[in-house]
Amino acid sequence: MGHSSVFQYAAVVGASSGMGAEIARQLAATGGRVALVARREAELSALVGEINAGRTEPIAFAYTHDVHCYAEVPALFQNLCRDLGGLDAIFYAAGVMPRITDSEYSFDKDRAMIEVNVLGAIAWLNEAAQRFQAAGKGTIIGISSVAGDRGRRGQPVYCTSKAALDTYLEALRNRVGRSGVRVVTIKPGPVDTPMTKGLDKLPMLVSAPEAARQIIAAAVKGKRVAYVPGKWRPIMAVIRSIPSPIFQKLNL
């Protein structure tokens, strides 16, 4: 019953690549038990194998799941809690940002973004919120984006999905915060992950391990909103304050 890990039991949804994979790796490195939920089975089992390598008892557990399968979530959530032996924190790191051109309006791509970035988060974090409220503790971490701070011309629905996630997380925080549950909104700028691969001129790009380190630090502190890296906070404060008529004319 002794432990020293940052979160003794944690779940990461969207754990097969990018920030999610790094968060899972780093949580496991502190000795905590981690449930990894992801769609791609091959990547997932490789990562779980890597974490468990050389251990007599596994500490990482793999769950293949497509976040579109909302109906599967309640049972899967209970099962992973049981396999872990508890749950102290859940990281929702699943997210998609399909490439679109400046004049493209693709409902398929838009729908995918809303389903993965928003509805999947709601399906998972609703479960976590109810459980944590009953337990009187727990930390919910949603990986949003600086993109949610403003409706930009380049990615209308990606921005929308992240703004929706921000508002959902804020509401969740206001709903369960007084029960001892912490809800952390993470707003990363560009991070070097498969999602951003091939995009050019990304300002202040940080590596996935560095982003994961900052995300876990913010989660442990139970911050309400954390920009990753932190210097995005003043930058986004400025960008948010640009009046719409001017913002419309800028190439942001």
Partner: protein
């Protein structure tokens, strides 16, 4: 699905419509379930049946879902004895009816969720007091029987099981209820008492109370300047007392190591109390709702909180000792409830221990070795810089007739330790060190208090033969292993992640 398939906006990913909904447990049964010390906190799916059929329903649910069930009473075990993290918790507190009471013989028949409080309140007006009670009146009889609890009169009255005439046990294998007594199913009788709830679920317990002729006890307090004096005083006092309990200042060193107080209680003889009808009323027994006559008790734990550190506790322990030494408490009378239920005086006092709660380390050591072993343990705690803020000392007798025996003809030391994130691992390795000292002397451990024991050490105190007999009986009455508490999983199935086996500092060096 059909709509989607025909849609021009068909997406590649699996649609939600194709995902089968898998069954899950009702979310509103998920509750925080902790050990009493709150250093062990879990989430379990709690069910509170009111009938034997309700218990069977929970077992059926467990069977269908491939889950396990932990019976739970008042939840007063310090560690993981009444929890089943992420599994089902069978909370029996709503099966709390007193089924029969005979004021002539003092025999009471109760459901398992009846508390010690209900029991004494039922009996006292007719001049009967429970034969064995814990330091708190909140445990249920089901939980008390499962742990085979003892009180401050263990050396005289034995364990609770000694006063139980029969109980009914619902067996998980068949769902049938079997009567167990010294004559009927004696193997189950002596295994389920002390069997920490994993052999079956108590549905009814019948026991005999003790006749008392007054609502009061003669109470005395005696000062002991060190451990040798403590043993000597205690030994002498047990000969003339019905109850005795020792308190030790864990901070006292050197010559004063083991200093403390002995409190004794003795029943009044018939006729000694001029107004027994008055003192035997429930109202005369109620604990005061203020401290020192004016202070509201409910806020006291908050005031204790700033003192719950080494400095504060060193001061308070020393104050208590010296106050009692300089101003000896005169012999007086005290109510039964007031004398017995010391842990109920300050509501929520455990909260003063802070966010990570407390554990209690209790060991039972044979008479011949206890003086040396307790001296070693007290010195070891001081040497490791992990000092118990409350140490309780008692005299016991052997309970070998019960399969899961925890007691020996000897003494017990119970040490409360504050748990913090910083000291947690050191505390567990201190416990492992103390275990070795205790086991070396032929000592035993009490599951109701345990948080730290390792399965290897279980075999060494119970002996492989007892453990195997217990497990064989369990296979007979619960072949699917439905009844499993976290303690059972930790100690009997070797489940990982519940214990920390810390390396022992070596060589073992304790200042003499």
């Amino acid at each position: 699905m059909s709509l989607l398939a025909e849609s021009p906006h068909k997406i590649e990913l699996t649609g939600p419509e194709t995902c089968p909904q898998r069954p899950f447990l009702p979310r509103d049964h998920a509750e925080s379930v902790s050990g009493w010390g709150e250093s062990w906190r879990t989430v379990g799916y709690v069910y509170r049946p009111t009938t034997a059929d309700g218990i069977r329903d929970v077992l059926t649910l467990a069977r269908e879902k491939g889950l396990q069930v932990a019976p739970r009473g008042g939840g007063n075990s310090y560690g993981d004895a009444a929890t089943a993290r992420e599994h089902l918790v069978l909370d029996l507190t709503r099966m709390n009816r007193i089924l029969h009471w005979d004021p002539e013989t003092g025999v009471i028949r109760v459901e398992p969720g009846v508390t010690i409080r209900q029991m004494w309140q039922q009996g006292i007006g007719d001049g009967w007091w429970p034969p064995v009670v814990s330091g708190t009146m909140l445990p249920t009889l089901g939980g008390a029987a499962a742990m085979n609890i003892h009180g401050k009169n263990h050396f005289r009255a034995g364990v609770l099981g000694d006063h139980i005439l029969h109980f009914d046990l619902l067996l998980p294998a068949t769902g049938e209820v079997v009567r167990c007594s010294r004559q009927e199913n004696p193997d189950l009788f002596f295994a389920a008492l002390g069997g920490f709830g994993v052999l079956g679920v108590f549905t009814e317990i019948r026991l005999r109370l003790r006749k008392v002729h007054s609502g009061l006890l003669h109470a005395n307090q005696h000062v002991a300047g060190n451990l040798a004096e403590m043993f000597e005083r205690f030994e002498a006092l047990t000969a003339q007392s019905d109850y005795a309990v020792g308190w030790i200042d864990g901070f006292a060193k050197g010559e004063a190591l083991g200093r403390g107080l002995v409190q004794t209680g003795q029943h009044l003889a018939p006729g000694e109390d001029p107004r027994p009808a008055q003192t035997l009323r429930v109202a005369s027994q109620e604990l005061p709702d203020t401290l020192l006559g004016f202070f509201p008790k409910s806020v006291v734990w908050r005031l204790m909180k700033p003192w719950m550190n080494d400095f504060g506790m060193r001061t308070l322990n020393a104050l208590r000792y010296h106050k009692s030494r300089l101003i000896p408490a005169p012999a007086h009378t005290e109510t039964h409830a007031g004398f017995q239920f010391m842990l109920d005086y300050i509501p929520h006092w455990k909260r003063a221990y802070g966010a990570h709660g407390l554990i209690q380390y209790q060991c039972q050591v044979p008479d011949t070795a206890a003086r040396e072993v307790f001296r070693e343990i007290l010195a070891l705690c001081q040497h490791r810089g992990l000092i118990s803020y409350l140490i309780v000392f008692k005299r016991h007798r052997a309970d070998n007739e019960y399969l899961m025996s925890y007691s020996v003809d000897g003494w017990s030391l119970a040490l409360d330790f504050k748990v913090t994130t910083e000291n947690r691992e050191r505390l567990w390795s201190l416990a492992a060190e103390m275990d070795r000292i205790v086991l070396g002397s032929g000592g035993r451990f009490y599951f109701a208090k345990d948080s730290t024991l390792h399965p290897d050490r279980l075999q060494s105190f119970l002996g492989e033969e007892r453990v195997q007999r217990f497990l064989a009986l369990k296979r007979r009455v619960d072949p699917e292993n439905l009844l499993q508490t976290d303690l059972y999983r930790r100690l009997f199935t070797g489940a990982a992640d519940t214990t920390v086996e810390a390396p022992l500092p070596s060589p073992l060096e304790i200042p003499r």
